[in-house]
Structure formats: C-alpha cells, structure tokens
C-alpha cells in the first residue's frame, strides 16, 4: 500500500494525497505522467522530492538540528 503523508480535503472529501520528501520535508501531490522526476533514498527508505539538494542522504531531522545550531543557513 502506498504511503501517504497528507490529504487534501475539499468539502469533506479527500480529493488528493500528498507525499513528503524525507530530506527537506516538502509535500507534493503525486501526478503520474507529469514527467516530474522524483527520487528515492535507500538509507531512509523513503521518497525524495527530486531536487538536487535532496539527492545526498541527509535526514530532515539532522538538517533541523544543524539549522538550529546555526551550522547551515537553509533547510
């Protein structure tokens, strides 16, 4: 069963599901056939959004900790 990370509900009905990137926390609505290339992290065993910054494995929780310590300036 496909894992979903969010739902978009219109007037009480689920009209779309969202999936979250395990490296940046971004949500998107999967659109088969859109041509948008997404990624998959084998270490995290989860999808990534396809952005180049999310290709190397850096779990979002780790990024948050670094951001809060001031070691990186962008999540």
């Amino acid at each position: 069963m496909k894992k979903v990370h969010g739902h978009i509900i219109v007037d009480g009905q689920v009209v779309a599901d969202t999936v979250q990137c395990c490296h940046c926390g971004n949500h998107w609505i999967p659109t088969p056939g859109s041509g948008k290339v997404r990624g998959y992290c084998v270490k995290c065993d989860a999808l990534t959004c396809g952005a180049e910054e999310c290709d190397p494995c850096q779990p979002f929780e780790h990024k948050l900790e670094l951001f809060e310590k001031g070691k990186i300036d962008k999540l």
Binding site: G6, I8, V10, T18, Q20, H27, E53, L64, E68, L75
Partner: protein, 150 residues
C-alpha cells in the same frame, strides 16, 4: 500542546499576499503544522488562487498580528506569533516550497498531515512558515486557519 491561528478577510491585491505567517518568537520551541484550512467568504464565483507554503526567515511588515490560541483553555501561551495582510512580505527562503495547491473560490480546502509528516518550523528566532496566495484570477477575500502543535 496544540494551537490554532486564523486570518479572516485577507484581500487579494496585490499578489503574492501572505494569508498567515507563523513564526518563532524566541526560538525556544519547534512547531509542527498539521492542518491548514483555506476558504473564501467572497460572493461565490468561478475563480481560483494558487496557495503555497514557504519557509520564512524574516517577518516583513504585517498589518495585523494574531496570537495563536491554545486548543486547551488551560494551555500555555504559544512560543509562536503570526501576522497577515503584510505591506512588506516576509522574507521567503528560495526554493523552499513545502506545499502547493490551487484553491477554487467556491470550495473550502483542508490539508491534513499524517502523524509524523507535519510541516516543521525550527526552533530559531523569526524562523517561520507562511501560507501565501501566490496568484489569483480575481481580487477576492480569503480566510485561512493553521493548526499546529509545539
């Protein structure tokens, strides 16, 4: 602890227009946004708006501030504050779009996160997330509610 904050009657002109910018006051707690509700109280019409959630690092100049309310009446004051109807938009982090959908004027849209998949605001002063109307087909009033937990 869970909190809610709402903005009612945010105008469309000019876009982009922040509906709610939720930000950390002193950077001593993280927030997890688990629900966003957007709708319009304008005269029903066939119009649409592009809604996005972006990370912000500075608050801009807000016309109105809204203090988040705890869902539990005995709850503590939130470590977060919010604003809307900005005359100077909050500073958004480039390429930090966390969520995007197109809103049809006649309908109420809810985005609900699965447990563990919330939009997280780091514990950093002025770090935030804004729900912004990026573009719309007409100038119509919008209403937005964010529910989050600390």
């Amino acid at each position: 602890m869970r909190y809610t904050v709402s903005a009612v009657g945010v105008t469309a002109d000019p876009d982009p227009q922040t509906l709610i910018n939720l930000f950390s006051i002193a950077g001593n707690a993280r927030a997890k946004i688990y629900e966003i509700i957007t709708s319009s109280g304008a005269t029903p019409d066939d119009q649409s708006a592009l809604i996005e959630c972006m990370r912000t690092t500075a608050n801009g100049t807000e016309l109105a501030g809204m203090i988040p309310n705890p869902l539990d009446p005995d709850g503590n004051t939130s470590a977060f504050d919010s604003g809307n109807a900005h005359t100077v938009e909050p500073t958004e982090t480039a390429l930090s779009r966390l969520l995007a959908y197109s809103q049809y004027l006649r309908a109420t849209y809810r985005w609900v996160a699965a447990p563990g998949s919330e939009l997280i605001i780091p514990a950093t002063t002025n770090a935030g997330i804004n729900v912004v109307r990026r573009a719309s087909t007409s100038a119509h009033l919008m209403t937005c509610t964010i529910l989050f937990e600390e």
